[in-house]
Symmetry: C2
Subunit: 331 residues, 2 copies
């Protein structure tokens, strides 16, 4: 058995191909075959679409799988590679991180050929798929315990030109929110690795919570808009309807916009995503679980903001994140 990752087909084959990216076996598990789709229409943009980077964010795998069905009818040029389930063991376990080595795939890029399985997946993708693409759409969704509007996200990038290009790509999805997200922990992210190579990478954060037919329709239309903007597909982009509105905002969230729980207890959201809150506005409350005579603890907005994401009602620990606020990005 090979000790290096390989593809079961040649990505240079013209037209449509399906096969697998084989991640070699290691001490922790047997080889894993990740299904891969390729549609090579020659000259033009080269796009890699990935889902299932986090295994409990199923919008990505589903929308990527739908794309496999309709792309052959509409792609006019260029090359698209689709991997709906990057971290297949995590998708099967409905777990953000790998059930095998406990690692978060989105913190181990570019991976290691001699590492544990999650590192070997990152290595296989970095080595065999990434060189074939100039743009990456990585389909996330904030996870099942959050409520957030369908968004396309990028983190701040040092290279000014790449930052501008990436923001333009994100805005082209025309989802309710385009978000520039200052993140405390970008080391090993797929984003960071792709950006370091001067390529465009956008991360769709497709809503969180229940994965239902309405949510999937919005995500799919956002992805279609992205493909149109890249020039891979003909058509006119359209803003999807979210909460009875068709609108698209570009927001910025800073480290100081992360609201954390001041205490252990049950978090109750008291605001909704995209609400505009004043300084001191109520975001949620924490109910201590040891006594019903203890007062609920208010969590308030430190500044006038737009609610970008809010935690589902759930038990939280001290310092656990419960909301992300944001404001319009200054041009």
């Amino acid at each position: 058995m090979s000790k290096t990752p390989y593809l079961t087909f040649d990505l240079d084959t013209p037209g449509m191909s399906t096969g697998h990216l084989v991640v070699p076996k290691g001490d922790d598990c047997e080889a894993i075959s990740l299904p891969v789709f390729s549609l090579n229409k020659g000259e033009g943009p080269r796009l890699l679409v990935t889902g299932g980077n986090h295994g409990n964010e199923l919008e990505g795998p589903i929308v990527a799988r739908r794309l496999v069905d309709w792309l052959p009818k509409v792609q006019t040029c260029g090359r698209v590679i689709i991997v709906p389930m990057l971290n297949l063991p995590a998708v099967q376990a409905w777990s953000q991180d790998s059930p095998i080595d406990g690692l978060n795939l989105n913190r181990v890029f570019p991976g290691r050929a001699d590492g544990s399985v999650t590192e070997r997946i990152a290595d296989a993708v970095s080595r065999l798929l990434l060189p074939m693409a100039d743009t990456v759409f990585d389909l996330h969704s904030f996870g099942p315990t959050w409520d957030c509007p369908p968004s396309v996200v990028t983190h701040p990038i040092g290279d000014v030109d790449l930052m501008a290009k990436t923001l333009r790509m994100a805005e082209a999805f025309k989802l309710p929110v385009t978000l520039l997200w200052e993140h405390p922990d970008t080391k090993g992210m797929f984003d960071t690795w792709v950006h370091s190579q001067g390529k465009v990478f956008v991360c769709a954060e497709f809503g969180g919570g229940t994965v239902n037919a309405e949510a999937l329709a919005i995500y799919e239309s956002g992805l279609r808009n992205g493909l149109i903007a890249l020039g891979l597909v003909d058509g006119k982009a359209e803003c999807p309807t979210f909460r009875q509105r068709k609108a698209s905002k570009t927001l910025e969230t800073l480290l100081s916009d992360e609201l954390k729980s001041p205490a252990r207890g049950i978090f109750e959201p008291r605001c909704s995503v995209l609400d505009e809150v004043s300084q001191g506005g109520l975001i949620g409350v924490i109910y201590p679980v040891d006594s019903l005579s203890a007062d609920a603890i208010d969590i308030r907005a430190p500044t006038t903001s737009i609610v970008c994401a809010v935690k589902s009602g759930i038990h939280v620990e001290v310092n656990q994140k419960v909301a992300f606020l944001a404001r319009p990005l200054k041009p």
Copy 2:
């Protein structure tokens, strides 16, 4: 330390009291103190409200906790006991079942004094709280991986009078759905135990998926309607708005209405809750995860039906439930 459960206060105390139901220690863990609220306004209906029977259904604990805040201002007579977090260890672990003994609290009633912790919780509730109530509202929500409309549910009851009384109580919540649910596995349910004593028990199944502010507002208004109908609170019941509609239906779901996955793979919902589907209408598809050239497998409605609950997009095993269909209950 006591080997039998006890309350830290006397439920016969007039007015408002808070304290704990102490579930004794056992071989598996220390004693657990479940917060309890009581409001005793003398003669009148006697109601027990419980949340957190399943630990990953947080609507119940939150709405029950809100009730603790507003009930003292509005209760006019009778007695109400509220236990927001019945299975406290499961609530803290965001897990349906107990993280200590792995048991589903809703399958072990009436419990055992010498059993494992989940059985001891059921025993404490059965022994000390249930005798003080004639009606029980147990606040569930179908769990995080389902989408269902806010509903009040009862299972079929042999006693015709109790069945009629229970259905009337369920309908009084005026939630979008009142559901008579033929369930394959009612042994040990809290419902079954309470019904066996001739008492009214309704189970609110408050939506599933994301626990957000909009969902909680609907649940709270349903619960308020229930309290008004019981005569504990003055006021006029109002149908909450759900998906831009104010309407309330009484439905029946039979064992044959449970749709199961014919294969292993990722389930994609293709219908929405409360959709009316024709015989053969598409409910969802299963995408096999081993290959992208394998066709998706359709899951279709065996008869003309209303969609009562549909699984979130998620990886499922063969024979795992993916939808519950229903139809109007014949009077």
